[in-house]
């Protein structure tokens, strides 16, 4: 396999003396949906946060051919790498529109309006509520806002950390539908999920994490069929 759009090699991340991610390596090829699944506390969020340069890491992280190891956190987006963080972390005291503007902070003013229209086309609910304060949105709307905000800069790779968390099944379905659409429109996706069933059914490939290590990897359908994955993550 050639070097992917994202390539993580021998990456380790610690919180003080806690080694949360231990020497992991994986690749994401352009155009793919790759999922990182594993139980709570396996190190999935830590992995994404380290790639987004919000946490210091050792090893090597390469994106679109360049090393990210010396790139400060606020410069990652400019390279085309966006993230929808765990818990959404939208700006609760700002309006929907202001949240989207923040997503376009690094893009020129002229293209912002166009991007916003694009996001509104994808999430009509957000347009209806454009001047509402984000903290008063429902959980599903907040997740859509978090995704819309991340799309404002037209990223090449979108990392999503448990977008289905806390959502009703019908909304989960909708969110996964949108992930498929985004991918069909050319965005590469790295998806972290505890909902392994849903994640593997949308993904091309998957990696399974356990206590800071990648313990299994393969095509999504192979993982779905694997007895070990079935037993541990798909309820038997």
């Amino acid at each position: 396999m050639s070097e992917g759009i994202l390539s993580v090699q021998n990456m380790s991340v610690s919180y003080g003396s806690i080694h949360a991610v231990k020497n992991i390596s994986f690749e994401v090829q352009e155009g793919e949906i790759v999922t990182l699944i594993g139980a709570n506390g396996a190190g999935k969020s830590t992995t994404l946060n380290a790639i987004a340069r919000l946490l210091p890491a050792s090893g090597e992280i390469r994106f679109a051919g360049d090393s990210l190891m010396h790139v400060p956190g606020h410069a990652v987006l400019k390279k085309g790498l966006a993230m929808v963080p765990e818990g959404r972390r939208i700006f609760l005291r700002m309006s929907v529109e202001e949240n989207l503007e923040m997503g376009a902070y690094i893009t020129p003013r002229s293209s912002m309006q166009e991007q916003m229209e694009d996001v509104f086309r994808r999430f009509p609910r957000l347009e209806e509520r454009r001047s509402q304060i984000a903290g008063t949105l429902s959980g599903g709307e907040q997740q859509m806002l978090a995704m819309g905000r991340a799309l404002m800069s037209k990223p090449k790779l979108l990392m999503m950390d448990e977008p289905s968390m806390g959502l009703a099944p019908i909304l989960v379905e909708q969110i996964f539908g949108i992930i498929r659409e985004l991918n069909a429109a050319g965005t590469t996706i790295l998806l972290v999920e505890q909902n392994a069933q849903a994640a593997l059914s949308v993904a091309d490939r998957g990696y399974v994490m356990e206590t800071g290590r990648i313990v299994m990897s393969g095509k999504a359908e192979e993982l779905l069929a694997s007895p070990a994955v079935k037993k541990a993550y798909l309820g038997g």
Binding site: A52, R53, L54, H74, K78, G103, G135
Partner: protein, 292 residues
Amino acid sequence: MIEFIKTLISGLGLGSIYALIALGYTMVYGIAKMLNFAHGDVIMVGAYAGIVAFTSAGLPPVFTVFLSVAACTLLGVLIERFAYKPLRGASSLSVLITAIGMSYLLQNLALMIFGSQQQAYPQYVKLPSVTLGGITIDGITLLTLGVTALIMIGMSLFINRTRLGKAMRAVAEDRGAAELMGISVDKTIALTFAIGSALAAVASICYGLTYVYIKPTTGAMPGIKAFTAAVFGGIGSIPGAMLGGIALGVIEQMAKTYISPLWADAIVFAVLVLVLVIRPTGLMGKEVQEKV
């Protein structure tokens, strides 16, 4: 009645100065998540800069104002860069102690350079007083009120309408998420210190023109009062700092006139305690609940 209105107006003047200082406290608290106890002393430095520029160097008023603002802005940015930035991620207690140390450092540097005697701030702005219905209002008080009102409007527009102002609110709310948006937290914090210190310079000019005498500890009392005003209004809230500053100035002058000058400070702080007991988040402080 006339006495009441006069007291109210001088209270508004004093409150404006508190509000200008409180803005710096509250912005730094909201964005850098720290209490910058050296902020009051930036006013003292601004006042001495005015004395040096006008009295010693003989510069015209416009340059004196410009120099005061430039000196304070630079000082604020340097303090942040060399004293507070290395402590980012350290415990808030370490940062607080550093800020108190910075306050003493500035006061003692001023003591070394300018001595302990008070010096007169040059009265380079002369404005006629205005008499309206038997009430005479000092020209400088009117200037203070006008300048403060303009700054309040400007700051509200900046914070609510501009991209940079919104980025500051984003950093205040969630640093990590702001970084994900491509906003540099370091630059935003530096900008916050620059703006807060520039406002402190404006406060120093209003203070010097109103109260005239300056000494190395001049910034301490207005600093602590403005901090109180910021807490009173709801620390972290910009309208809160404006409202808290004005309210505090008016309460202080009313207490001086109608109760006793000796008790004025005690009354101000008693009101603060009362407000915090009733509304722990201050007048304008608000909590947004997170939804799942």
